[in-house]
């Protein structure tokens, strides 16, 4: 629910889990009516597993960008990384973007016409409330509830061989494939993926699969993350403190040490910034080469970033949000690419622990410290509710 006092309290507490999930928080567990089908062709989805995303934690912890506030309708049921079943028992994953097709708007807006529903102009229109995605819209329900409603264009069948645990990561994998294709690294490039949470690790996998570079360097903080980054395709995994030293060597760049931080002359060709924090962003724009690309993949908040390097190095700073159709892959849908790639990635091993909705406080607290605790994707298991 939208509550300015709650938001202020949680933010003032620094987003600490015990406050962010307390009675003062914006997040409540309770019974709400099942969302009605907005139109005749919509279907009900009963979530099996629903992931806790970094963007969910940012919203709960009060450090989400307020830019997103008018693009959200309240109260909403969170959860947009969803694998579930339809009424007929078919297993599906949800493509949560709420673009023109979902909203029944024809002709679609220019971005949706290009196959970019994540950039839809019409997120305020149609039979459902404002919202960029399921999980941030008051009318659709979300993955952290027993039932949500979805337009058929949002539904993708899950192949039999893909477990629920793997399928719940199809949505973030699609985001990362989209980011990799946006970054467009070539075989001669040195690529850095900064951050090794779910998005960072899946970006490593996506870059390795779709745009394999000459050298792929992952920046990871925790031991489990380091191991997984290597497993998913990083040539080298480095700690945040050594990123300048390692990127310099990999690119034969020159390193200068300024009063506050280092910079490279030369550097990485493409950097995928998957942390979304000022420290990491400021590093990224200093170790990416002049004219190189910095792709913001992890959802950033309102962070203080020095724009001088972006200006002086003529960096291409680009966002990579959601998914759609990929021009670099002959217009194939990102979700289709993700579903094809998923079986080869052993995604299930990245998921866990699983929590019931009743244990949501523990789940949120665990997810907020996932890296330190050796976890990647913490998720809610709603299968028991149907049993």
């Amino acid at each position: 629910m939208r509550s300015i006092p709650s938001f202020a309290v949680v933010k003032a507490a620094g987003g600490r889990a015990e406050v962010a999930t307390s009675s003062l928080s914006m997040l409540k567990l309770g019974d709400v009516p099942e969302p009605p089908l907005p139109a005749g062709d919509w279907v009900r989805v009963m979530p099996s597993l629903s992931g806790i995303c970094g963007s969910d934690l940012a919203a709960i912890g009060g450090h989400v960008s307020l830019y997103l506030d008018p693009l959200t309708s309240y109260p909403f049921v969170p959860g947009h990384e969803v694998v579930g079943v339809l009424d007929d028992g078919q297993r599906v994953v949800l493509e949560p973007a709420l673009g023109c097709a979902v909203r029944g708007i024809d002709p679609p807006c220019p971005r949706c016409a290009e196959g970019r529903p994540g950039l839809c102009y019409n997120v305020t229109e149609g039979p459902i409330e404002v919202g960029l995605q399921t999980g941030y819209c008051a009318d659709t329900g979300g993955g952290w509830g027993e039932v949500l409603v979805a337009h058929p264009s949002q539904i993708h069948a899950v192949p039999d061989g893909l477990s629920d645990e793997a399928a719940v990561l199809v949505e973030p994998l699609a985001c990362c494939i989209h980011a990799a294709l946006r970054g467009g690294a070539t075989k001669d490039d040195v690529v850095v993926v900064s951050g090794a949470g779910t998005i960072g690790l899946l970006t490593v996998a996506a870059v390795r699969l779709f745009t394999p570079p000459r050298r792929l360097i992952a920046v990871a903080k925790h031991p489990t993350q380091r191991d997984l980054a290597r497993k998913l395709g990083a040539d080298q995994v480095v700690a945040p403190a050594e990123v300048f030293q390692r990127v310099r060597f990999a690119t034969a760049a020159r390193r200068l040490d300024g009063m506050n931080r280092s910079l490279l002359l030369g550097g990485a060709d493409v950097t995928f910034e998957c942390v979304g924090r000022a420290e990491s962003l400021n590093d990224a724009v200093r170790f990416t080469r002049e004219g190189g690309a910095v792709v913001a993949v992890g959802m950033p908040g309102e962070e203080k970033v020095d724009w001088a390097p972006i200006w002086q190095r003529e960096l291409k700073v680009m966002g990579a949000y959601a998914y759609g159709s990929e021009p670099a892959r002959k217009g194939q849908k990102t979700f289709v690419l993700a579903l094809e790639a998923a079986p080869g990635l052993d995604l299930g091993s990245l998921v866990g622990p699983l929590f019931g909705l009743g244990d949501y406080r523990d789940a949120i607290a665990y997810a907020m410290s996932a890296g330190r605790l050796g976890a990647v994707k913490v998720a809610f298991d709603l299968r028991r509710l149907r049993a």
Binding site: E242, Q245, R246, R248, F249, A252, A253, R254, R255
Partner: protein, 525 residues
């Protein structure tokens, strides 16, 4: 009369023996029956160095008197060894200063105007102005620096010339000013048998292109040891290159040797055998130990690196390189040789705070290996003190610390290369050119005070022979992660190390402790 070196067998009355431990010291008890090898006492220095220098220049070996080689209008270059020796740096005046002052006076008398003085640092780091001033003295520094006193730059494309190839295919380059001079006078200081001779010109004024001909794993593995030139493939290669250089340019060599008086009065206990320690020595040991146990590394480093050694000149010879160097080696051997009977299962060594490549800097882990398994292990003739497959036990804290100014490429070598492989041959194949040609390392070598990009590889392969020879290498009191990265074992105490060593060499092993520095060379029979 100074005592020669000695081998003492440990009995119940033997006091604990001093072990260097980086920027610290410790006393350790060795097992009964172990041997302690002590270096000889410092030889008496020449009473009047200036006179000895004049005499050497007037009556050179297999060459004309220097005075007769000097003439008005000639192009004269003096090259001299850099600060990588002696260790610790010599208390002023440095013998190189004394020699150069004499040479410059003679040149001035002969009317030589075109005189350049070049620090022959090869791929070592550029010295700071203070370091340079310390070696050459204020008079030379203020007269010649910076236009006519400067440092060799092995990466300057304009100022290095290709001389040719030896019969073995070794490429030879030379500093352009030296190559175009009518006469090059090389002023050397030989502390150990590895130094001097043809190696001076063929490394000191060379570029990577020619140095790589002998600074490589294959050559080092074939040098048993490089502290004994006749058995050193490294030196054979340098000689071939040096001969080619001598065919190109007229060279007059002046080589000096000093005694092993390596420690100032305040640290004289380090110079002495423990049985000779006076009450004052014992007090100084305790005070030093107390200080080094509690002081932060940076403070200890400043204290130790401020030490200047009261070395005394023991010989100076001038003339043709081979004739001079034979005499020089003779003088060096007289000071540092110690006869040692037979090899041993275990050798223990204390690695000190200083090696040739960390003057005024921390000794990083690669340099610890270079010092312990490179230099100290290789101080032998005939065969190593350690038997093949034996265990080498070293004491050093071996922390992950690097001097970012002096050793930037060492950081990448440690983090990237040693994480991949430790095999010197494999490293060379995969990484040699990458480190040698990295433009940033090149710039830091040329403009800052950094060792050349390839230098950590040279430091690493300096230990190749020891790594090949030893069955195990155990570091005592070192950082465990660092030692494992280096590929060795780690023990908390010397006792633990002996226990671990038994797994390799069996029970009741023979043990020899090399009580160095001061430097010594074991003649193993």
């Amino acid at each position: 009369m100074p005592r020669p070196g000695a081998v003492i067998e440990v009995d119940r009355n033997t006091p604990p023996v001093l072990f260097h431990f980086g920027e610290g010291i410790r006393l350790e008890r060795l097992p009964l029956g172990a041997r302690i090898v002590y270096p000889p006492d410092p030889l008496e220095p020449i009473a009047h160095p200036e006179r000895a220098i004049k005499r050497a220049l007037a009556k050179p070996l297999d060459d004309d008197p220097l005075k007769s080689l000097l003439r008005r209008g000639m192009k004269l270059t003096i090259a001299f060894d850099d600060l990588s020796l002696p260790l610790p740096p010599m208390a002023a005046p440095d013998v190189r200063q004394l020699v150069m002052e004499e040479v410059i006076d003679m040149a001035a008398e002969a009317g030589v105007d075109d005189l350049h003085i070049i620090a022959a640092l090869g791929l070592h780091r550029r010295m700071t102005e203070d370091e340079l001033r310390h070696i050459v003295g204020e008079r030379i520094f203020s007269t010649f620096h910076p236009d006519r006193l400067y440092q060799h730059d092995g990466e300057d494309p304009e100022n290095n010339v290709y001389v040719g190839k030896t019969a073995q295919g070794e490429e030879v380059t030379l500093n352009r000013r030296a190559a175009e001079s009518d006469l090059v006078i090389y002023v050397n200081l030989t502390l150990v048998p590895m130094d001097g001779g043809h190696k001076s010109m063929s490394t000191g004024l060379a570029s990577f292109r020619s140095i790589r001909a002998h600074h490589n794993a294959k050559t080092l593995l074939a040098s048993r040891s490089y502290m004994n030139p006749p058995d050193s493939a490294l030196h054979h290669s340098c000689i071939r290159q040096g001969q080619l250089i001598e065919d190109t340019v007229r060279v007059f060599h002046i080589e000096t040797t000093v005694n092993n008086h390596a420690f100032p009065a305040i640290a004289s206990f380090m110079q002495k055998r423990e049985t000779d320690w006076t009450a004052q020595d014992q007090a100084m040991f305790l005070a030093t130990k107390q200080m080094t146990d509690i002081a932060p590394p940076a403070f200890k480093r400043n204290v130790f690196h401020a030490m200047r050694a009261p070395y005394g000149l023991t010989a100076v010879h001038a003339g043709q390189v081979d004739a001079v160097h034979d005499k020089t080696l003779e003088a060096v051997r007289k000071q540092i040789n110690v006869p040692v009977e037979g090899q041993t299962d275990i050798v223990t060594l204390g690695v000190p705070y200083l090696g040739p490549y960390n003057v005024n800097a921390a000794m990083n882990p690669i340099l610890v290996v270079c010092m312990g398994l490179g230099y100290l292990f290789n101080f032998y003739r005939n065969k190593p003190v350690l038997r093949k497959g034996g265990v080498l036990i070293l004491t050093h804290p071996c922390r992950y610390e690097f001097d970012a100014v002096q050793h930037p490429s060492y950081i990448d070598y440690y983090d990237e290369v040693l994480a991949d492989t430790r095999d010197p041959v494999e490293i060379e194949e995969k990484y040699e050119m990458r480190f040698a040609e990295d433009p940033w390392f090149r710039q830091l070598y040329r403009k800052s005070h950094a060792y050349h990009g390839i230098h950590p590889h040279y430091a690493w392969i300096w230990a190749a022979h020891a790594m090949d020879h030893a069955g195990d290498v155990i570091f005592v009191g070192a950082d465990r992660d660092v030692v494992h990265r280096l590929g060795f074992k780690c023990a908390s105490t010397l006792e633990d190390a002996f226990e671990m060593a038994e797994q390799t060499v069996g029970r009741y092993p023979s043990v020899t402790h090399l009580r160095t520095p001061p430097i010594m060379l074991c003649e193993v029979e």
